[in-house]
Symmetry: C2
Subunit: 347 residues, 2 copies
């Protein structure tokens, strides 16, 4: 790290997406079978009739999880889920994962066993093989790096950059609950810090806590869309909040969109918690993140096919690029949607 | 991390290999196309006529590298190489990689650029596509997690567990040089600590420094073996030292081996440095690690085919399991070889 005296740019100046754009802007692809590289939920490699879909996520203690309130088993489970969600977002089926751990001395064999209990449970639930990995020590804390490998036929794969005008924008499940679960856990942690004898009051909040601590990936949605013979025209998973993800689809597809506030699915538990925290539930849904729901667009002619699916919610439609990505509020206002990404560097 | 009052086992009790065996002992493989899971240099997934070969490595600051003497560009290069080496050890060709970084606030955009310069250079040299990854912040230090994806036809792939009696044991290049490079860097670091005005005396040590800081993977060997029509009966890359790696081959193949000290290739620069440090060069070769050479066995009938290859050294042969894995010293003594693995947890 010998830098002479040049002025260095802080990473926070670029932000996550800016940094990724910056370091990947000159990437060349040389192999014909690399059919998708950087820039989607996962990469795609073609092997004859089958494509392998590859995604990887790195979870770092103190950034992505706090062990004060995260059970290690749940952490292992969630670390797998966030990767599987990326595979499903390509309309593919996850089949294998690798798991790498960096572990500091504060962890005992029993802790690692708990993490792997969660990893193995997720593998079982989603029918995924654990095929390898790496185990290392670290000077401080825990890091988990998982790579998931999925399969799909080439024509089945959905990308972010293929939404087209008049497509219907759909979202699965409900949004903002994982964020409200996090707020609750953070509040109880602060109280616990000042009063270690305190018993956290988490009863009755099971739903939002489960959404934060032990989320699921939308295997069911992918299977139902196949049954209904609906191939989304574009798809992405919701890890950074609806606002970011719809922005990515619009940006990559050179289109705009119109989303309606009253169509955005928000669970009653989320609303209740948001009220307690004096947070607008819409903010949690738009910017909260970690919902691991799917956001996708379908051809308007497919709308009829999904109308009986209670887990799929049409929330708007794709427009011309010149109109931008906008949210129409219940009061009729039009608000521009933006990508948030992480801003951990700014904290 | 609520552990009640139970007695916890320290990870150092098990060591790296013990921990990996422990956490992977109950793993089930459900997919027919997962033809190799945990337990080799890389995993193997079959897609029709082609197999994808997958390996992953996690490098952690303060454990695997020290930024006091590691240029970031070299670090990026080496992080790719250690993964490619695992792919070559399966007799496969690396084609793609994903790169995940966790970065603390001490790093600026320019530092990340330097890491990617090294990554991109390695991709160029080895004809590999960078297809994805993840970027995250970290509370302390840098971590790099790379997954490499290679290709091979099923019948070309070499494993660790297929060596057979009377096979010839071969090693490429030379051993122990990366370890001596590390010793030199560590010595200069200590002097620098006590005298910051001090100029490190690294001149004339280029070879061992390059072996430590900017190693290469044995693409050339894999290509030559194909040209010579020699398929190794087993293969592994040398990341933990010859002793560990030959032990793995013997252990997984249910065989023993006899290695001869006078056949083990050690470079003159390594010997010179070892003498300066009062280290037996044989110790560096057996236990030093990070050489990224290949260790393989060939059928005795193929010995003639490789005899003109200066980069390939026959160093012994495979025996019955009951004889164990032994080194025959120049003095005629027989010494049992053992797996070392990391002992970072014990430090």
């Amino acid at each position: 790290m010998s830098d002479k005296k040049q002025k260095l740019r802080e990473i926070s100046e670029l932000g996550e997406f800016g940094l990724i754009d910056h370091i990947t802007k000159d990437i060349k692809i040389n192999h014909k079978n690399t059919i998708k590289g950087v820039g989607d939920d996962a990469a795609v490699i073609e092997y004859g009739e089958i494509c392998a879909i590859i995604t990887t996520d790195l979870l770092v203690e103190g950034i992505h999880f706090n062990l004060i309130y995260t059970p290690l088993k749940h952490l292992g489970y969630k670390a797998v889920i966030v990767n599987l969600s990326d595979i499903y977002a390509m309309n593919a089926t996850p089949k294998q994962i690798t798991v790498s751990l960096a572990i500091s001395k504060k962890f005992a064999v029993e802790h690692i066993e708990q993490i792997y209990e969660g990893i193995n449970l997720a593998c079982e639930q989603y029918n995924v093989d654990l095929i390898g990995g790496d185990t290392s020590s670290s000077l401080t804390g825990l890091a988990i790096s998982i790579t998931a490998i999925g399969e799909a036929r080439k024509e089945e794969i959905t990308y972010r950059n293929t939404a087209k005008k008049n497509d219907v924008v759909c979202v699965t499940g409900n949004l903002g609950s994982a964020y409200m679960g996090l707020q609750l856990l953070e509040r109880e942690k602060e109280i616990f810090k000042t009063d270690p004898g305190f018993n956290p009051s988490l009863a009755g909040y099971d739903y939002i806590l489960q959404r934060q601590l032990k989320p699921e990936a939308r295997k069911d949605v992918i299977e139902i869309l196949k049954e209904l013979n609906v191939k989304p025209t574009s798809m992405i998973d919701i890890s950074d909040g609806l606002s970011s993800e719809i922005f990515h689809i619009c940006n990559k597809s050179d289109v705009g969109c119109k989303i309606f506030q009253d169509k955005i699915p928000i669970d009653l538990n989320t609303e209740k918690m948001a009220e307690e925290f004096n947070i607008d539930p819409l903010t949690a849904a738009l910017n909260g993140g970690e919902d691991y729901e799917l956001l996708f667009t379908i051809d308007i002619n497919d709308l009829e096919k999904i109308k009986d699916q209670s887990m799929i919610h049409p929330i708007g439609h794709i427009t011309d690029q010149k109109h931008g990505a906008v949210l129409i509020t219940n009061g009729g206002q039009s608000i521009a949607l933006q990508a948030q990404g992480w801003n951990q560097m700014k904290e």
